[in-house]
């Protein structure tokens, strides 16, 4: 067996700082898509709470905090970031390991929402899109996920194969916002 070298999705691309905006890569230990079977939503939430300390998130919301987060990820599904999902869920939900499938970046700075306004057609201003809110939405022509993880910080995800495009488009938007002062 060859000795393979693991590279993160944004290896060699990040971190980047432009003006007062920082873009860094996050590499969760594991990412598991949890899709409760019909009628099992409550039971899944209870077992998730018992094993991971957070409830199953409502639509457009996330639960948990840095290091262990459950992000609503589309109709009837949430993505658990942190440790691998407990097998206690295996008989009441479909579990899919997606640890290597997503590029995860963190955009932080006073004008982070203005940067994203150039790439995503949703209102991400803090009075509307509060901490813990999440959206599955377009991110620069890609299917993405955006979550507010702090007063001036967002987590942004796209498919791993599009990591370079995501970083390029974010850097371009960061430079444009910075140039406006």
């Amino acid at each position: 067996m060859a000795d393979l070298i693991a590279l993160t999705p944004c290896d060699g691309l990040l971190p980047v700082t432009i003006g007062s905006i920082n873009l860094t890569e996050d590499v969760p230990e594991a990412m598991t898509l949890i899709a409760p079977y019909a009628g099992q939503e409550e039971a899944v939430s209870e077992r998730l709470e018992a094993a991971h300390g957070m409830a199953f998130p409502a639509a457009n919301r996330s639960t948990g905090k840095a290091g262990a987060r459950a992000i609503w990820f589309g109709q009837g599904a949430a993505l658990l970031q942190g440790s691998a999902a407990t097998q206690e869920l295996a008989d009441i939900a479909a579990l899919t390991d997606q640890s290597d499938a997503w590029a995860v970046v963190r955009l932080e700075g006073k004008s982070a929402a203005e940067v994203l306004a150039r790439l995503a057609p949703v209102d991400l201003r803090s009075q509307v899109f509060k901490r813990g809110h999440t959206a599955r939405c377009e991110v620069s022509h890609m299917m993405g996920s955006i979550t507010r993880v702090g007063p001036e910080a967002f987590q942004i995800m796209v498919f791993r194969s599009m990591a370079r495009t995501l970083v390029h488009d974010l850097k371009t938007a960061m430079a444009a916002v910075d140039a406006r002062g």
């Binding site: 639509a59 589309g74 109709q75 057609p121 939405c137 377009e138």
Partner: protein, 89 residues
């Protein structure tokens, strides 16, 4: 154009893919004539029309959108799963 996804809320049209008319599927016992109408014949009306749209860039839900083809107004939306379009099996 904005479409209200029943799950995600008000979203830009570019996040969606449109399939076409929202039609109830014929019963298993349907005749060839019924299927011909289901597959090929459309009213193409000027006014309110129901279509299936897919929230491709969002939550991945299929949505029944009632749209006015004259004014482009989005009259109403609901999940396709609740629109009772499937035939009895």
């Amino acid at each position: 154009m904005r479409i209200t996804c029943p799950i995600c809320g008000d979203r830009d049209r570019r996040e969606f893919y449109v399939k076409g008319a929202a039609l109830a599927r014929p019963e298993a016992s349907a005749t060839l004539e019924d299927w011909h109408e289901h597959v090929n014949l459309r009213d193409n009306r000027a006014g309110e029309t129901k279509e299936l749209w897919y929230h491709e860039m969002g939550c991945s839900a299929w949505i029944e959108v009632c749209r006015n083809t004259v004014s482009h107004e989005i009259v109403s939306t609901r999940l396709a799963a609740t629109a009772d379009l499937g035939a009895k099996r």
